[in-house]
């Protein structure tokens, strides 16, 4: 399973490391020229290959969006057509009411199969995953299945919570956000919210 991680900030290198440890080839892209993140990749995600976003996406089976929310508008939608895309982003600053980032991502990246997940785990709590339950929400059953498989491989316990609109259950303001729990508890929290 080839992974493209977009974003070389707080979160991107962490997910890249987890994917590499699970045996997935990883390409990582920051904003701009790949040479800008060579050093960061060498030390923080050794084994990942710094590439341009377009090159990283071209042969990826799975794309992880870990860029600042306000950079969403800078993504070229055509590159994402037909791709399974994990939205791991949050509104920053937090929105007063959950707005559903993934619905906005899906509206911008038309043709992508968006799945919201991992946004509700702080980057410093991701390593090691230790079987922590993570919610995932998406409209395409095949995409949800692919993401579910990926999350299991890297060490999380994926819990589908519904279609993309249910991604709101995973956002700031929801009890699921930041909750370090196991499957039964996450299922219960999600059920109470829906």
């Amino acid at each position: 399973m080839k992974i493209a991680v977009l974003g070389a900030g707080h979160v991107g290198p962490v997910i890249a490391r987890l994917a590499l440890a699970a045996g997935c080839p990883v390409a990582i892209a920051g904003s701009g020229d790949p040479s800008r993140i060579e050093m960061i990749t060498e030390f923080l995600a050794p084994g990942a290959v710094p590439r341009s976003a377009a090159d990283a996406l071209a042969d990826a089976d799975l794309v992880v969006l870990a860029i600042p929310w306000h950079r969403l508008g800078s993504l070229e939608p055509a590159m994402f057509a037909g791709k399974v895309v994990i939205d791991a982003m949050n509104h920053w600053p937090p929105a007063d009411a959950p707005l559903g980032t993934s619905e906005e991502v899906a509206a911008r990246l038309t043709g992508a199969h968006v799945v919201k997940t991992l946004n509700h785990v702080a980057y410093q709590d991701m390593e090691p995953p230790n079987g922590r339950a993570v919610g995932l929400a998406g409209d395409s059953p095949a995409a949800v299945e692919a993401v579910r498989e990926f999350l299991s491989r890297i060490g999380f316990d994926p819990v589908p919570v519904g279609p993309l609109t249910s991604g709101r259950l995973l956002e700031p303001g929801s009890p699921v956000f930041g909750a370090a729990v196991r499957r039964p508890e996450l299922e219960k929290l999600a059920k109470e919210q829906s």
């Binding site: 900030g9 960061i40 060498e42 923080l44 600053p93 702080a122 909750a179 370090a180």
Partner: protein, 339 residues
């Protein structure tokens, strides 16, 4: 040489009955805490800029100047200065003035700000978060060199052969990094020291950041510079006492922050992990805290440790005791362990 400091965000302290003190009293107490830090032989005292009712230290440099007037040895600085929402020229002027008042004891730690209250307050857009810091750090690097500055950018008016006063001796500049690898590389590229803010999780996971920094310094042709660690803690005569005092306030603060940042709400189990050997809280008896500090400094190749003391809700007296124990017992023990 290893150096040891204390950082505070100036959280409002409470009286013996648990009632919050006024902002004015909290700030006057902070001056006393800085003076005690000097008396117990610490190397650095830093105040982190915040703009909220529970952390009212919006003008930390004024407080540092008051501490400077009553001390002669301890170095004084920010932890951090939110440069992104300030004017680098003005920041330089304030700290260069502090450097004069304190007879060359000023330091500054620049940060992007993980508390972003200053952005709306001063009319900045969080969408410019990275660009503001990038550009303003660059200008600050020019200013701190001394001499006339020529600079052009998007975030303030241009400078042409501009004298920015007062002229004082150059003072140490650090960049505070929470988890952004770009900030590590940026610190190295400007020749600024690296302060790792480790507030949760295993401190050892920052080791690749230290390696990245040292490699980047070399690549940019810079001489070696210190790596520092900033981590929260609390010291009392016994582990149990320290942990019990700290817990309710820690639970309260992390629960509030977690709602916007995704931190897990602490449980007794997660707390036990954080205060244990693999967590980021330096809470315990002098011996426990010293052993953990020494280990962490070695792992991260750090020569500076700043204990961030004083979580909101504790009393001034309790903080004074932490400072006393940190200076007279913890730090001497760490020096011994590292020698």
């Amino acid at each position: 040489m290893n150096t040891f400091g204390l950082d505070t965000f100036g959280d409002v302290t409470h009286d013996a009955e648990g009632r919050p003190l006024t902002h004015a009293q909290t700030i006057r107490n902070l001056v006393e805490q800085g003076v005690l830090a000097d008396q117990v032989g610490l190397d650095f005292f830093g105040i982190g800029e915040h703009h909220t009712p529970d952390m009212p230290l919006s003008a930390a440099d004024v407080v540092l100047a008051a501490i400077a007037a009553r001390t002669s040895r301890i170095r004084l600085g920010s932890a951090v200065t939110v440069l992104s929402s300030d004017d680098p020229v003005r920041v330089f002027q304030r700290f260069s003035t502090l450097n004069a008042v304190s007879d060359g004891r000023a330091e500054i730690i620049l940060g992007r700000g993980s508390s972003v209250d200053s952005f709306p307050l001063f009319g900045y857009d969080l969408a410019d978060y990275e660009d503001l810091f990038e550009e303003k750090t660059h200008l600050f690097a020019e200013l701190v060199k001394g001499g006339p500055v020529t600079w052009q950018g998007k975030t303030r008016s241009s400078l042409h052969e501009q004298d920015v006063v007062p002229f004082t001796e150059p003072f140490p500049t650090w960049i505070g990094v929470g988890g952004s690898p770009q900030s590590v590389v940026r610190a190295a590229s400007h020749g600024f020291s690296l302060m790792l803010a480790i507030i949760g999780g295993h401190p050892g996971r920052f080791a690749p950041f230290s390696e990245l920094y040292l490699h980047a310094l070399e690549k940019f042709g810079r001489s070696p510079l210190p790596i520092g660690i900033h981590s929260p803690g609390h010291v009392a005569p016994t582990d149990e006492e320290a942990q019990e005092e700290f817990w309710p306030h820690y639970l309260d603060m992390i629960s509030r922050l977690g709602r916007t940042r995704g931190f897990s709400t602490p449980t007794p189990e997660s707390y036990a992990h954080e205060v244990g050997p693999h967590g980021a809280l330096f809470v315990g008896s002098p011996e426990t805290v010293a052993a953990k500090m020494a280990r962490t400094m070695k792992t991260l190749r750090a020569s500076r440790f700043d204990l961030k003391y004083g979580i909101g809700g504790l009393s001034h007296e309790s903080l004074m005791r932490t400072i006393q124990l940190y200076g007279t017992e913890v730090v001497p023990r760490v020096r011994e362990l590292l020698s």
